[in-house]
């Protein structure tokens, strides 16, 4: 009986599963103990400083102004609303930055592979110069350059109604006309038509082997249908142009100096990294693929669209995802040049209320949600382009 129990204990000690369980319990207990210790200290410290915990401060009046934002806001609004304005500013600079950086990266990446010696050299120069200098330093330079621009009276006017001065970039905006409603509806109809046309064309090609130029027809429809409606209602196009009135410009849309500097910094910096990703993706497709496709009788455009791109995208998408995430996270450097993004607004909130824990936790939580949703979206896209094995 006793020997058997000893054997039981021994078996328990030598059992890998049991020991694994013990290790896990010990580690989890240690982490919980550390967390409890930190929380306890924090609560004691907060109590000593007379700071209330919890999120109730979000409802209080913020009392500071925010220079810009898509959401209407004034100083008497709540902290919550201020943070929402910051969040929308973060998102807008990230989305525009991702579009610009991708375009720039694509162009530079292809240019680096160009057979044209001087173009390839210039692209290499750009990538090596930009990649090896901290983004924050580049942001300071961009911001310094934008604010050192001449004032509104001597503003640069590079054409197209754009006006660049130390008050930021002024852009012309089309004036909304009541007939634009039908034009928008026509655009929606055309887009839906494109979607169904593509499905029909792909199904028909599977069935009969007959290709249908759905892309050309579809694009013609998407441009043509709203265009026809626009012409039919008399083409009432009117631009709201920025014009000098007193000491500043009136009319048109405004991109603040901070926004312009942040956008330039983020796009130029991330563009260099995207260029390298594009280059490696294209290089990863063996030249034999092009030769095989051409010898099958595909045209150059078909070869690119059906053979090269699908294989290059497989290599490009995962690192591209992390660059998009980097750009979004780097937009938090806005705090250094005074663009009111989420981190910047949260920083002001922390300074005013002392609610450091809640403020930092909110910022981290929001960025975590953005990161996870963006990587989920890109993973979904990646699973569509990924190689299907067995």
């Amino acid at each position: 009986m006793r020997a058997k129990r000893q054997g039981g204990m021994r078996a328990l000690i030598y059992s890998a599963r049991f020991r694994g369980l013990v290790y896990q319990v010990v580690v989890v207990a240690a982490v919980i103990a550390l967390g409890w210790y930190l929380v306890n200290n924090t609560l004691a410290n907060l109590a000593a400083r007379g700071i209330a915990t919890g999120l109730s401060f979000l409802g209080r009046e913020a009392g500071f102004d925010i220079g810009e934002g898509a959401v209407a806001y004034q100083a008497s609004d709540s902290y919550l609303r201020a943070l929402v304005v910051g969040l929308f500013n973060t998102l807008s600079v990230s989305v525009v930055g991702i579009i610009l950086a991708s375009t720039l990266g694509l162009v530079i990446g292809i240019a680096r592979l160009s057979g044209n010696w001087i173009v390839a050299r210039l692209a290499t120069l750009y990538v090596e110069a930009v990649r090896n200098v901290p983004l924050l330093l580049q942001l300071f330079v961009w911001y310094g350059l934008v604010t050192a621009l001449p004032g509104p009276r001597q503003a640069l006017q590079p054409g197209l109604g754009l006006v660049l001065s130390n008050r930021g970039l002024k852009i012309p905006l089309p004036v909304w006309h009541e007939t634009y409603g039908p034009v928008m509806i026509a655009l929606g109809v055309a887009l839906a038509g494109l979607f169904f046309l593509r499905r029909w064309a792909v199904a028909r090609q599977y069935r009969t082997g007959q290709p249908f130029p759905w892309a050309a027809v579809g694009i013609a429809g998407v441009i043509g249908l709203p265009g026809l409606v626009f012409l039919a209602v008399g083409a009432p196009l009117e631009w709201d142009l920025p014009r000098l009135a007193g000491f500043n410009f009136q009319g048109g849309g405004t991109l603040s100096p901070e926004f312009v500097a942040l956008l330039m910094g983020l796009s130029v910096y991330t563009g260099a990294f995207i260029a390298e990703i594009v280059r490696s993706g294209i290089l990863a497709v063996p030249p034999g693929q092009t030769e095989a496709a051409l010898s099958l009788g595909l045209t150059r455009a078909q070869t690119l669209r059906l053979v090269i791109l699908p294989q290059a995208l497989r290599v490009i998408v995962p690192p591209l995802t992390s660059q998009y995430l980097n750009l979004t996270k780097n937009s938090s450097l806005a705090v250094a040049i005074g663009y009111p993004d989420l981190v910047s607004v949260a920083n002001t909130t922390i300074n005013q209320t002392g609610q450091a824990v809640e403020g930092v936790a909110l910022v981290m939580g929001v960025f975590l949600v953005i990161s996870l949703s963006l990587s989920w979206l890109m993973n979904w896209y990646n699973s569509r382009v990924a190689l299907v094995t067995r």
Binding site: N45, I118, V119, P134, Q138, V141, S332
Partner: protein, 384 residues
Amino acid sequence: MNPAPDDQTRRATAASEIEEPSSAQTPERAPPASQLRLLGWARKNLFGSLPNTILTLLAFWLLWEILPPLVRWGLVDAVFSPAGGAASCREATGACWALMGEKNRLMLFGVYPYDQHWRPALATALVIGLLATSAVRSLWGRWLIWAWAVCLAVVGILMWGGVLGLAYVETAQWGGLPLTLGLAILGIVLAFPLSILLALGRRSDLPAIRALSVGYIELVRGVPLVSVLFMASVMFPLFLPEGVSIDKLLRALVGITLFTAAYLAEAVRGGLQAIPRGQEEAADALGLTYWQKMRMVVLPQALRLVIPPIVNQFISCFKDTSLVTIVGLYDLLAATKAALADPDWRPFFVEGYIAAALVYWSFCFFMSRYSQWLERELAKGSRR
């Protein structure tokens, strides 16, 4: 350029008598025009086709627009001598390199006491020298670890002082390049052990440990470094018991370490994944415990593969240290910014930032070249 034909044939025949009779039938020909000197090269690489020619002309136009004004601004019209002060710069139309003569000490060493600048200078030289030594592969060995330990101790004594007759300098006065280098090196060195634990945890069979590691890595990689630094600067003081305060520099260092560890852990995981499963199974079959298996079989192989990614992580850590500017430390970037806060020199901010950018650039560029070279060098053994 071509030898006379009969001469050529004679030589070919002479050669054919000795070894290859077949080569006598193929006479020597001039190389194709595309490989001929500069003109042929330009024809092939710059003006091969119509679009290519247009691109080349565009590039030349761009260079013509940018280069001459840049040279005029940076060299011809620039002010180099700091003798005239900021006034002489304001009169000139070119760059103001006199700024560097006036502010170089502030930019390089921040607010460290002026008459003690030889100490951070010596410390930086020591660290750069040891970095260069560590880059030489034939010198790799256990002694390097000791050398680094001694070097860090010496650097600590030099920077802090308080012993050997050196005046004590508190960390709040540290700044400039030594601070940037110190944060980057200590950040990566301290993050390394943590990252190995995290990477092993992520590949562990124990679900709770795996979940903790994955949670930590994904959480940290999902948030910006700025928010981690904010957490370090405003929340760490709250974490500690009352009365215990923690140095501002140390807080930033802990933030950078925690952040870098998550990224480094993913690099180490890449190395772990590259080790064939048979290695672990063989170690199990020999009866090694988990830690013996990792220490003696898996990690030595995995970490070798991870050296180039670690160098790359070091580069991004080096660039990221510039973010401590935001939480109020005087690293190279913040010191440059401080130097440019002087209203006399404020208009010449571009020159100041160019100088700081050159320092960052030279470190990062050479390290990234080194990492590429190292990758090829380490792969030599496995190449067939």
